[in-house]
């Protein structure tokens, strides 16, 4: 359960950015890769705990899950995968080890109110 420390990092980042702009945070937009090692539901509940009694207690957390994209060596193009248990091209089933997308753990945007 490292989601709590991830949630606290998200709050720290948002607070710092908002403080610099003397604004309040309405919402935090996060991109979460399905291979990031962080589980969406666990992060949401950890976030609910972490924001209590902080200046960001009213800020919503909006998570966009990012699916895995690999580079298919056969198609020579980015492709999606059948599942994270099967890292191969969804079209031609060639195994692929080059992960182009799906490891993201990013705060992408903040909705602020002055």
């Amino acid at each position: 359960m490292h989601e709590l420390s991830i949630a606290m990092s998200i709050l720290d980042m948002a607070e710092e950015e908002a403080g610099r702009r003397s604004a309040e945070v309405d919402a935090i937009h996060v991109k979460l890769g399905v291979l990031s090692g962080v589980v969406k539901e666990a992060l949401l509940s950890a976030y609910d705990l972490a924001r209590e009694e902080t200046p960001l207690m009213d800020a919503r957390l909006l998570i966009e899950e990012v699916p895995v994209l690999i580079f298919c060596p056969r198609c020579q193009a980015p492709r999606s995968v059948p599942s994270i248990q099967q890292l191969c091209c969804k079209d031609c089933e060639t195994p692929a080890s080059e992960v182009l997308q799906g490891r993201e753990l990013l705060v992408v945007a903040l909705e602020l109110r002055s």
Binding site: H2, I6, I84, S97
Partner: protein
């Protein structure tokens, strides 16, 4: 006349910041430090009870006649692992993480205070027994080895694809027990390759020593690649 925007209007600002930025920055600094000292760093990850400590003890004992080796051992509460590893007669430091279920780069940085890395060839980091959380934390290592014992079953890679996908080598341990538990090697290999195509797989028994030579050859050759690359960059 233009009316000013209301002060309370919401606005969106884009920031695009890595949530683990702080950890990654420390890991980056550690990696430079390791590189400068020409020490090859291995991060061992596995579930609890997969035989990390026995494997590490075996590794340290065999390497110490030819190389300067040391280990950092992460554990939630006890110093048992460090005490066990002290038998290998190499420098070992324990990191007690308390309730934290993984090692972070800052913990490595703290544990290495006053440690002369330049005198080392290999540093092993035994992560906390956990196949989930350690996947997200870069420790500045050169090599991440994921261990799975035959007693855990063949489907472990499918249950924990993220950590296997983040690994540089998979090590199947306790192979002396494979027959007793009717371990299905082809299925295990297929499962590892499904979540991380092309991942090298080594088979070892710390008890009998079978496979240890392959592992030692593997890491010494990896270390040579890194050190030679530093001496004469392409």
């Amino acid at each position: 006349m233009n009316s000013p925007l209301p002060l309370t209007s919401p606005r969106i600002i884009e920031i695009r910041k890595n949530i683990l930025k702080q950890n990654d920055e420390i890991a980056h600094a550690l990696r430079s430090r390791f590189e400068e000292a020409e020490v090859f760093v291995v991060n061992l990850v596995s579930s609890p009870g997969s035989g990390k400590t026995a494997f590490l003890e075996c590794t340290l004992t065999r390497l110490r006649s030819k190389f300067h080796v040391a280990a950092l051992v992460g554990d939630l509460a006890t110093e048992n692992d460090a005490n066990r590893l002290a038998r290998a007669q190499v420098p070992v430091r324990q990191i007690i993480t308390g309730t934290v279920c993984h090692l972070e780069a800052a913990m490595i940085e703290n544990a290495l205070t006053d440690w002369d890395l330049a005198g080392l060839d290999f540093l092993f980091i035994e992560n906390v027994g956990n196949l989930v959380c350690p996947a997200s934390y870069d420790l500045g290592e050169n090599l991440r080895a994921v261990l799975m014992s035959v007693t855990e079953g063949e489907d472990k890679p499918l249950k924990y694809p993220t950590i296997v996908n983040s690994a540089d080598v998979a090590i199947v341990t306790k192979t002396d027990l494979a027959d007793a538990v009717e371990f299905d090697w082809p299925t295990a290999v297929k499962n590892i390759q499904a979540v991380r195509p092309g991942l090298e797989i080594l088979r070892v028994s710390s008890k009998s020593g079978t496979g240890m030579d392959d592992w030692l050859r593997f890491i010494t050759s990896r270390r040579r690649d890194v050190v030679e690359h530093l001496v004469c960059p392409p």
